[in-house]
């Protein structure tokens, strides 16, 4: 009966998204509470799915009782379960973060819950067209959330994201259409069986190309990343934390699904050029994203370009398509979500307490906000791939996969990506801890009575509830609660702890890998 958890994962947040709007009509500000309860339920449901998959099950739920391939299937397996767990955990964490961090409007939480539902849908659907619909739900909610910041530029960034994101989704649906006219089915497992034998047919090749380019646009792989830095930079800090951790992640997950479940390894053997094209695309993204991140001065923009680089790594792992590399891709996908979410959250706290938004603003903040800066340092080093951390684990498996497959360029690029990541993280650390005290421009304390977040010494949580103040310009300096610091520290702890969880990931993904690499 555990398969009932799958439709609930999608239905609960989408239905609950109505609650904040209703409470608006009645004049309450209950949005935060609705979001908190819903995401807590999601964590419970995700735990059920994760436990079942960890026990070796493959959960399948035919929606409405129509059997596949006629109906839509929801699938929980070794590839989707870690992503579902990531989405649920990050959603709960960001809601906790938003309690003081804002925005506090009810409408924000409606869009937020829709986004949770959309992300869950992309991760567990077993049907290609259904995946397109959930991608668009995710997209629509994300555009609205990016524009939810009241600053002028967020609307421009959101519109740019909308136009490019829609193009990506349209490319994906054209690819789905080509696959559909070649086979007459939309179910992923059924498609993979019917595609076998016609891999080199022109519609099938075109279908693969359209789908990868469309999803690559959504995942912000270089050179299709141009929407992403603006969207991350001009969205409000809470929104950036959430979308950086999850939205591109599910697009990269969708790439993995398309490559591994729909087209399978036999396709790569029949059309090796397709594999090389994806690998080239991904490795160029790793290097270009890394170089662009190094030259940025604004923190959020630097972290945004860093995502371009990391997603290149993930896509390369899935295109390598060896058991080690795929495991590494899944681990790095989860790890990147946690690390990048944590980094953006830490940057949000530093921006709120010190108004620090550029690398230079970070001068000697390591001594003024030791806890948050320490968290930032730990997460940054994890992103570089210093053990013990999930960042190391992911990169290690990808590198091992590349070496075992004999694809040396990718192995070298993994190494270079580590160097590039070190280059921009080290710049941050140098500013945080070793900046020349005299040269450090005195960062203006925006409001002298704003509590400084240095680890639980603030008593601000009581009067800074969601009812206080209205979600005006979220860019102004606000109070920071110890709860926000706690969530960020927790992210860092989880990132380090998961560095020891290699056997857990291996058990989780094992059954899925067994199916793919049989």
């Amino acid at each position: 009966m555990t398969d009932v958890a799958l439709p609930l994962l999608i239905a609960v947040p989408i239905l609950a998204a109505v609650a904040p709007l209703f409470s608006s009509v009645l004049g309450f500000r209950a949005g935060w509470y609705a979001a908190a309860v819903t995401t807590a339920i999601e964590v419970g449901l995700a735990a059920v799915v994760l436990a079942a998959v960890y026990g070796g099950d493959r959960l399948v739920h035919p929606v409405g009782g129509y059997p596949a391939p006629y109906g839509i299937e929801l699938v929980g397996d070794g590839l989707s379960a870690p992503i579902v767990a990531l989405i649920a955990a990050v959603s709960l964490g960001v809601v906790a973060f938003a309690y003081t961090g804002g925005p506090r409007r009810n409408s924000f939480y409606s869009a937020y819950l829709l986004l949770v539902g959309g992300l869950m849908g992309v991760s567990i659907t077993g049907d290609l067209f259904n995946m397109f619909v959930f991608l668009e739900i995710t997209g629509l909610a994300t555009y609205a959330l990016v524009a939810a910041d009241r600053s002028d530029r967020s609307a421009v960034a959101a519109l740019k994201y909308l136009i490019l994101g829609t193009m990506g989704a349209s490319f994906f649906i054209i690819g789905v259409g080509y696959a559909f006219i070649s086979t007459g089915t939309l179910n992923m497992v059924d498609l993979s069986a019917r595609l076998a034998g016609s891999y080199t047919a022109r519609p099938v090749l075109a279908s693969f190309g359209f789908m990868i380019v469309g999803l690559g646009l959504k995942a912000a792989v270089f050179p299709l990343h141009t929407w992403q830095p603006d969207a991350y930079t001009y969205a409000s800090d809470t929104v950036t934390t959430y979308i950086s951790a999850l939205v591109s992640t599910v697009a990269a997950y969708a790439i993995a699904r398309v490559i591994l479940t729909v087209f399978t390894l036999a396709f790569f053997e029949a059309a090796p050029l397709a594999r090389w094209a994806v690998l080239t695309f991904a490795t160029v993204s790793v290097l270009a994203g890394g170089v662009l991140a190094v030259v940025q001065t604004e923190i959020k923009r630097m972290l945004a370009y860093s995502s371009v680089s990391q997603f290149g790594l993930v896509v390369a792992a899935f295109a390598l398509a060896t058991p080690d590399a795929v495991l590494g891709g899944v681990v790095h996908l989860v790890g990147h979500g946690l690390m990048k979410g944590g980094l953006f959250a830490a940057a949000a706290i530093l921006a709120a307490t010190h108004g620090a938004r550029t690398v230079d603003d970070y001068a000697r903040l390591g001594y003024r906000s030791p806890v948050v800066a320490g968290t930032l340092a730990v997460l940054g080093l994890a992103l570089v791939g210093i053990p013990p951390s999930i960042g190391f684990l992911g990169k290690y498996y990808i590198a091992v996969g590349a070496v075992r497959a004999g694809v040396w360029p990718v192995a070298i690029v993994v190494f270079f990506s580590t160097l590039l990541t070190l280059a921009y993280v080290a710049r941050l650390l140098e500013r945080l801890y070793f900046a020349d005290p005299d040269a450090a421009a005195p960062v203006p304390e925006p409001s002298p009575d704003a509590p400084v977040a240095d680890g639980g010494e603030t008593e601000d949580t009581d009067h800074a509830g969601p009812a206080s103040g209205d979600g005006g310009d979220t860019r102004t300096v606000r109070a920071v609660s110890s709860g926000m610091v706690l969530v960020t520290v927790l992210a860092a702890v989880v990132v380090v702890a998961l560095g020891f969880a290699a056997p857990v990931f291996e058990t989780l993904v094992e059954a899925f890998l067994g199916g793919v690499f049989s």
Partner: protein, 120 residues
């Protein structure tokens, strides 16, 4: 080539409309025209799906109770297009809402002017 156009004209139209929409999105500096281009692009995709379902002399897929009555037009692409139309309408609505806000804040819909204003 001529034969292709004569027998596969629906697909040729799909490609033509799609590329036109794509070009509008890239080349037009006006934000509203970009959204129109987006709509054109999406309509081309709808046309592709509907064309792929067409069967010469086919009837709607409503099977009489005694069976037979074929050949039928495949109903699945039509369902897909219906859903995609709904998605497209919501996207257009969000895009236009954003454009209204941009116009209110910057007083322009021209992309190059907008870039100048925001790159200060």
């Amino acid at each position: 080539m001529i034969e292709l156009l004569a027998t596969r004209w629906a697909y040729a139209t799909f490609v033509f409309v799609m590329v036109t929409g794509l070009y509008m999105m890239i080349a037009s500096p006006n934000l509203v025209k970009k959204v129109i281009g987006l709509n054109l692009f999406q309509s081309a995709v709808f046309l592709f799906f509907v064309a792929s379902a067409y069967v010469a002399g086919g009837s709607p897929a409503i099977v009489p109770s005694e069976g037979g009555g074929g050949p039928y037009v495949s109903p699945l692409p039509h369902v897909i297009v219906l859903t995609a139309i709904v998605v497209g309408v919501s996207l257009t609505a969000v895009a236009l809402a954003l454009i209204v806000r941009i116009y209110r804040e910057y007083g322009t819909l021209d992309e190059s002017v907008l870039r100048e204003v925001t790159d200060d």
